[in-house]
Amino acid sequence: MIGAERALELAEKALAVDGADEVEVTLYSESGGLTRFADSIIHQHTERSDAQIKIRVVTGKRSASASTNRLDDAAIAQTGRRALEMACLSPPDYLFPGLPGDFGASLVTPSQEAERFDQATAAATPGWRADRVAEAVLAAGDRPAAGFFSTSADEVALTNTNGVRRHATFTVAAFTCMLRSGDGTAHHESAAGRAGDIPVVAITEDLARWADRGRGAGDVEPGTYPVVLMPLAVGEMVEILAYMGFGAKDVLNGESFFVDRQGDAVASPIVSIVDDVAHPRSLGAAFDLEGVWRQRVAVIDRGVANQPVYDTRTAAEAGTTTTGHASGSQEYGPYPANLHIVPGHQTSEELVAGVERGLLVRRFWYVNVVNQRETVLTGMTRDGLFLIEDGAVTKPVHNLRFTQSVLDGLSGCSGVGADLACLSSGGGSLLAPALRLDAFNFTSATSH
């Protein structure tokens, strides 16, 4: 950690680029460690720290960026000069709106912001993380365990010559664990701002029950089934949906479903997907990577395709205003880094109870875009696929490949779980409940 005073001082100092019309400086530092285990031993283990300063320089309608992780005055000054040289050689972008000014207000209250930095998490040692792994291994019994426990402390300072001056610190802890029990496997992942909030033993004991339950899987025919998607599976699906359709850049490129469906019902009325940095369990900074306060955006509001998210450049091109979702890359465009699917009121058992014959999916794997505009994805189930019969989970089955339009699937959503899992995603977080979808297309099978 650099500390607010010095970080802002460095970021302010770096604004001094002679000859530039506007300058933006982002200082990002991270430190932490990750303790990785497999076959119930720690096999990879790292502790690392880095700090990088990125200087975006504007001259007229031309802009360019340069960055360095050397933070001495000479290196910072040289980086600013390199950015300016590059900007001067660049052709103008007549739609470039200029750097944003200091407007609006943070949705994250000061007390919330203070809670996002946990000193104990920031100070976690390799030995402390190894102890958590030891607890998981012990709770796993004779089942081989694999996964990681990580802790990190991040700091970002962002300034620009239009008066923006931001600083944030936040901590993130994450735990993943996969247990094997014979041919059965079960997987967990979750993230939190406080490492102490992750109940390693309880999680592992629950995994042990699911891994044991997954033993002796049989075949099931590919086809269309009602499904109960557990939160991890929902998170993996919605993360890719957001990647391919929630940002304005994809709309401008003609590739997002928003191109021809904005204002239409694209999902069941019980489905709302909202980006909200102020959610009590969201992780990350209250401002985006242009220093604009992140706004709450209901991307899908009670089933209706409401609006994508914007940064300043895409907002200018689309004739609207930024929503505070700059990703730091104009090439990739804006991204919603604090999504949550608004929870319902049902337990996962109640969701299962509503299925006569279907499948319970605990996790998807290698989900990728098949047809962006139509929101068609493919991917595999992994670490636990179970048959549901007469409203109860009855037996494990071998994994299937799905090929499915996400929005078509969400249109048939008939139940939303009450509990949200917090997943680390896209530099922020994604909060996902379990969902029951009435029809989901599985297109091929595998033998495990």
Binding site: I42, T46, E47, S444
Partner: protein, 473 residues
């Protein structure tokens, strides 16, 4: 290194590295991305008390340059709390020397204006119709300078230079959006090379054809559903190699150390020399020395010189990609040199260098001419494979039907699906050396923390029989 040994490490290696990158991206004639970046740091890897520790920091000029080494030892001691056996490394001879990527023209020295003008010209040349919503052209340069020392006496200095470029057009109307890229998907072509790579690709000349195909795809019929013969272009064969041969033959996956994330493999060590992976046409080599390959290095990040290794010979599984630790675990006396790290901040993992399908004796034209009924697919668009690398499904940007040995109608949204060994077993023809290219894949993800590797795949057009195909709709 000495500080690590003094603190109790039984083995230590240290990489001091500086990374330099330049990224340029143009969309619709406008330079959207112009970024230079440098990053320098040190990574220290140790074995202490029989367990691994790694520490990395950008603090190269601090008061205590040995702090990272002592931290690595602390990390290793913490690892030793949860172990059952000591780390054992296969022997490796101490190495010393220098390696630099061969190139003709330093891409960092080419004037920015020339580079930007080229990208803008290529982008503009694709804007032939108002339905071209995005005409993009991009260039990425990367130079890594690394000094490696180990407690076994190695001292290595390497400079790796990589260049990548490509163009793409997205056409959209009220009903559909279609995408075409050149010379391949995933940002085009990437290689350990200089700016000569960019000049040889003639992006501006290719651009109108790219846009034309994207537009034509909007009204093309969809790929039919069924089982048929499939001819793949070299770039798609490269992706097929990557996902269904490269990853499953990584010995760390086979031994289970990626079980929770990247996954395992359908292979077992006992399959070596016994498992039929493909047809007799299929011979695949892991070769970190291939000229121009994106995964070509002088030494890997354990200081081992890559040794070309047959993975599949005449269809039989005969080798794995190994590290010193995994080689020892299966009783092999040396690593074949595939341990690579994504920058100084990450520890090395087994990563593909260049995994190459050796050329056959056919040609694309002969493969098509000898196919009565089938589909020719080119340029990867989507990819997915299960955690044991058996069930895969790939989509391509474009296809043409093959009827009576001739190319017919253009088809959109082509996809094919298969099971790894069945698919490679159905290969009955591979084009020859004149159509063989090493394709660069710059975005291979693995490990936790996630690392991105840049790898190469030598490939030529190839034909596969009885393949399940469908439309990506």
């Amino acid at each position: 290194m000495q500080a690590a040994l003094d603190a109790g490490a039984g083995y230590a290696d240290v990489r001091v590295q500086e990374l330099e990158t330049e990224e340029l991206a143009v969309r619709n004639g406008v330079l959207e991305t112009a970024e230079l970046a440098t990053s320098a740091g040190v990574g220290v890897r140790v074995v202490v008390d029989g367990a691994w520790g790694y520490a990395a920091t950008s603090e190269l000029d601090g008061d205590d340059p040995a702090a990272a080494a002592r931290l690595a030892v602390d990390v290793g001691r913490a690892s030793a709390k949860v172990k059952r056996r000591d780390v054992v490394l296969a022997p490796a001879e101490a190495q010393s020397g220098r390696y630099e990527t061969p190139y003709k023209e330093d891409p960092f020295a080419v004037g920015l204006s020339e580079k930007v003008d080229l990208l803008i010209a290529a982008s503009e040349a694709m804007r032939t119709d108002k339905r071209i919503m995005a005409a993009t052209a991009a260039l990425g340069l990367r130079r890594e300078r690394t000094v490696f020392v180990s407690s076994e006496g190695s001292l290595l200095v390497q400079t790796i230079l990589q260049t990548g470029t490509g163009i793409s057009a997205t056409a959209a109307d009220d009903y559909d959006a279609q995408h075409r890229s050149y010379p391949g998907g995933h940002g085009g072509q990437h290689a350990c090379a200089g700016f000569e790579l960019v000049r040889n690709l003639a992006l501006v000349e290719a651009a109108p054809g790219v846009a034309e195909e994207a537009l034509a795809l909007l009204t093309a019929p969809a790929c039919p559903v069924g089982t048929t013969s499939v001819v793949l272009d070299g770039s798609q064969v490269a992706l097929q190699i990557h996902e269904s041969v490269g990853h499953p033959t990584e010995l760390d996956r086979i031994l289970g150390t990626e079980a929770a994330y990247a996954g395992t493999s359908f292979l077992k060590p006992s399959d070596l020399g016994r498992l039929t992976y493909g047809s007799q046409h299929v011979t695949i080599v892991s070769d970190g020395t291939s000229p121009g390959g994106l995964g070509t290095v002088g030494w890997d990040d354990e200081g081992v010189r890559p040794s070309p290794t047959f993975l599949i010979r005449d269809g039989l599984l005969v080798g794995f990609q190994t590290s010193r630790e995994t080689a020892a675990a299966i009783g092999q006396d040396r690593s074949n040199g595939t341990m690579r790290a994504d920058g100084w901040i990450n520890y090395p993992l087994i990563r593909m260098t260049n995994v190459n399908l050796l050329p056959g004796d056919s040609s694309l034209e002969e493969l098509i001419a000898s196919t009565d009924d089938g589909i020719y697919m080119t340029t990867n668009r989507s990819w997915s494979i299960d955690d044991m690398r058996k069930n895969f499904q790939f989509g391509c940007e474009i296809a043409w039907e093959i009827k009576g040995g001739r190319l017919g109608r253009m088809l959109k949204n082509p996809m094919y699906q298969g099971i790894t060994t069945e698919f490679w077993g159905s290969c009955d023809g591979i084009a020859g050396p004149s159509q063989w290219t090493i394709w660069g894949v710059p975005n291979c993800g693995k490990g936790q923390p996630m690392q991105t590797a840049r790898v190469g795949h030598g490939a030529a057009p190839a034909r596969f029989r009885k393949v399940a195909v469908r439309a990506a709709e």
